[in-house]
């Protein structure tokens, strides 16, 4: 009896939410895990003032004040109680992410570019222009850090992987190296023809997302075997894989955000909005939105499912388009069942 179609996504246009406050390019951003108070987002900015925001709304919570130079890297621990930042003032800092207070300053010999907590938040990995990886024991910060040498130029990104037993680092020397934490030795190296622009690690599934040129590449994080590569229309600076691994998003020099289907590699959506190159893009831990940071000094939040009620976005049924129903599923024996099915779908959507 029912043979009609309702598809909110076709009728809706993406409304990105712009988070202002930074006065210079946003170069890095990171989400926390999901905590009893929601999830959080930290942004690293060349203005030296990293900011903490509520992850699902983009509402500003606080600014970490103390760095005396551009902040190149920022991260949060899983429960968002601690933050760490890497800066051009030759220090990495650890912060109390609830009070905003600076907890530790870790002096380095050159610009620090990247910071990463272990899952238990007890150790901090840093890397930067002095080409060394350092591991700090946060319960004993006075002690000298363990140092891993090997890269022949500045380290851009370093992160823990394989349950914090190994370390992945990407440097200007066009290599990505996998290190064993206990032996501190190099296990494997990937060499590229060009500089790697970003690296993201997904623990669930041990997937490494790497970008270089116009390519987004997916590797197995344990073996460093290539899974697949996807080409984008423009040079890409950062990419992020959805927690359920059905989509990935990427952004780069053409100021746009792209959303691709991970299995088919098909480009699904693209969005203009930023007024400068996109430097970083990350999916939220629940996959409902992704955040982008740009040369234009803003962060923008984008919906994964455009039109869905979530955070500050509200599903409003369009008044002018014909409202038709799609009723799917097992055979419907009565009209009433059909309506119930429809309302259940609509409920879950709104």
């Amino acid at each position: 009896p029912f043979s009609a179609i309702y598809s909110p996504t076709m009728a809706m246009r993406q409304t990105p939410l712009t988070c202002s406050g930074h006065t210079r390019p946003v170069v890095d951003l990171a989400f926390s895990g999901i905590t009893p108070y929601g999830y959080f987002l930290i942004s690293a900015c060349k203005d030296g003032k990293p900011m903490l925001r509520q992850g699902d709304t983009g509402d500003w919570i606080g600014t970490f004040l103390g760095h005396k130079g551009a902040v190149w890297g920022a991260t949060l621990n899983t429960d968002a109680t601690k933050a760490a930042t890497a800066a051009a003032d030759f220090t990495a800092k650890v912060w109390d992410a609830v009070s905003g207070d600076e907890v530790l300053t870790l002096a380095h010999k050159h610009i620090v570019k990247t910071v990463s907590f272990t899952q238990d938040s007890n150790c901090l990995l840093t890397g930067g222009n002095d080409k060394l990886l350092r591991i700090y024991d946060l319960s004993n910060p006075e002690a000298a850090p363990q140092e891993i040498a090997g890269h022949s130029s500045a380290i851009k990104k370093a992160l823990w992987c394989n349950d914090d037993k190994q370390i992945l680092s990407a440097a200007e020397d066009k290599t990505i190296r996998l290190w064993d934490r206990s032996s501190m030795e190099e296990v494997k190296t990937l060499t590229f023809d060009t500089s790697v622009s970003s690296m993201e690690y997904m623990a669930d599934g041990e997937i490494l997302v790497i970008t270089y040129g116009k390519t987004i590449a997916f590797y197995n994080a344990l073996s460093l075997d290539l899974i697949k590569t996807v080409e984008a229309p423009a040079p890409i600076n950062s990419a992020s894989l959805h927690p359920e691994k059905d989509f990935f998003v990427a952004g780069g020099d053409d100021f746009k955000l792209y959303k691709f289907d991970y299995s088919t590699k098909e480009e699904l959506e693209s969005y203009k909005g930023h007024f400068g190159p996109v430097h970083c893009v990350r999916f939220s831990p629940d996959g409902e939105l992704y955040a982008s940071g740009s040369e234009d000094g803003t962060l923008r939040l984008w919906q994964t499912a455009v039109g869905k009620t979530y955070g500050l976005w509200k599903c409003v049924l369009p008044g002018n388009t014909p409202n038709l129903l799609l009723v799917t599923g097992p055979a419907i024996h009565s009209k009433n069942t059909g309506y119930i099915q429809f309302f259940k779908r609509l409920e879950s959507y709104c």
Partner: protein, 128 residues
């Protein structure tokens, strides 16, 4: 013909007056440990805690009154690297991150108006 997704409001931006981290937020109240740990054992002893809170209030009030009484007075700041400077105190910002001073006497001259970063200050003295 696509309709833009409706938005309840825009994300809240930074507060120009403070660095944020609202101490009245539920997360802060639940999670924030005080920077000086209570002398009692980790198990909260309410009598001990009361006394400590009292002491903290007194100290805080004294400090704030001290800042008030310093206004327009000559203050000597003892800072790191054996720096001792004198200036006329103006005000402190709300998070006590910076002190606004006038006529800052430094080894290289007198600065008419200046901001002193409070984390660089070890101690300051003035005549009441």
């Amino acid at each position: 013909m696509a309709t833009p997704v409706s938005v309840l409001r825009l994300p809240k931006g930074p507060d120009s007056n403070s660095r944020g981290f609202d101490p009245k937020s539920p997360r802060f109240i639940a999670l924030c440990r005080t920077s000086i740990f209570t002398s009692a054992a980790s198990e909260v002893d309410s009598v001990e805690l009361q006394r400590e809170q009292q002491a903290r209030s007194v100290l805080r009030e004294t400090f704030l009154r001290c800042l008030l009484s310093m206004t327009n007075k000559k203050v000597q700041f003892h800072m790191y690297e054996k720096v001792k400077v004198e200036a006329t105190f103006g005000a402190s910002d709300i998070d006590v991150l910076n002190f606004q001073v006038s006529d800052l006497h430094t080894p290289i001259g007198v600065q008419k108006e200046a901001l002193i970063r409070s984390q660089d200050v070890i101690s300051f003295t003035f005549d009441v």
